[in-house]
Symmetry: C2
Subunit: 199 residues, 2 copies
DNA sequence: ACGCTATGTCAACAAGTGATTACAAAAAAA
DNA sequence: TTTTTTTGTAATCACTTGTTGACATAGCGT
């Protein structure tokens, strides 16, 4: 590729709009953090995706950690799962998780699971998770031990995602996907309904 | 600390025993991989813990990846959970996971969860997980969808571990630990027994 | 038109990574 | 003992990481 000297398009500099730039960085950060997890996500890759100079990340967000804090935790939200009759909660959640082909380029739960093992990111995820996910879910649960069951529901979903999508165990064990979905739905529904083991 | 020149103990070189050295590296690797996860674990830290020169890791195991492959996957084993009556499987598993203070300095499941998000380590964990964990577990399950239920049991345990120990959601949400344990036991037991949702 | 400040660019740094090489020396073989 | 092989050491490579400071300039207020 020897088009060295001649009429190169001199890469025209960015329009100067701090708000738009920060927003672009945030969006790119969500995608990359979601794809790679906190540790494996590089600031340079984020910057490139946002078509922004790397230094701007630190200018606008102080650090990679600051960027993550503003990008990912605010997106943790399960209200789509909570809208609707809780009698079909298990079915809804299972359908959402089993065999789904990732449509959007960013899924908060993926980002959560992929970054949960990072020592830098985990503390940032803790608070958001309990206040934005577990607490609202527990609110919708009747019966005893609502908080505990909410914890288990989220754990189960996170664990399922970890095993199915990251480790691919479902495919590796040649599991019957419809059957897996049914079992998952039943388990989640049991946790969502009044506890079976406590009076 | 000015003891520069005088009678420093010249660090006497290692006894030369290839087998013992490799074993020391393996043991140290398990601990460090378990504590940090694959990506965050450094070869230098492993070598230091094993009191071994870094280059020996590559000499004996070819690469960091080779070391991981020989160190962690072979230790994945749930036979302790499978020994005994399956009627109390849920109780046994729950007791093992809730509120336990890590006693041993290496727990295979911790290493699994902490490394599952690594793109390098995940492929190495897949096969071991399905053949050494899920398959034996499914073998012990009666009723329909044994493989699918085994997948869900392992997913649930991994997810619980992820949320409870890495993210600390149980403490963050001020969950009642005994109640949490009871709910977890009930859920696992339900999965271990004949499927409730399929005839 | 001016200057000033916010915004963006560029190059570099310090620290870390896994891996490799050349060499020293102990142990084994001759 | 002499030679050969195995084991361990030390230095360094090539590379990536997050971060920073010096510089350029667009665009606004005056």
């Amino acid at each position: 590729m020897g088009n060295a000297s001649a009429h190169e398009t001199p890469p025209e500099p960015r329009k100067r709009d701090a708000a738009a730039t920060a927003a672009a960085i945030l969006e790119a950060a969500r995608v990359v953090f979601g794809e790679r997890g906190y540790d494996a996500a590089g600031t340079r890759e984020i910057a490139e995706r946002a078509q922004v100079n790397v230094a701007l990340i630190n200018r606008y967000f102080g650090s990679k950690e600051g960027l993550f804090a503003q990008a990912v935790p605010p997106t943790l939200d399960i209200s789509p799962l909570l809208d609707g009759d809780m009698a079909s909660f298990g079915e809804r959640a299972a359908s959402l998780f089993v065999g789904k082909v990732m449509q959007a380029d960013y899924d908060p739960l993926v980002a959560l699971v992929r970054s949960a093992t990072s020592q830098d990111a985990a503390p940032l995820l803790r608070k958001a998770l309990s206040t934005q996910v577990i607490a609202p879910l527990a609110e919708r649960l009747d019966g005893a031990n609502a908080t505990e069951r909410a914890n288990l529901i989220v754990s189960h979903l996170a664990g399922f995602h970890l095993m199915a999508n990251l480790l691919g165990t479902a495919e590796a064990t040649q599991a019957d996907l419809p059957a897996l979905r049914a079992e998952l739905a039943a388990t989640l529904q049991a946790l969502a309904e009044t506890s079976p083991s406590v009076d």
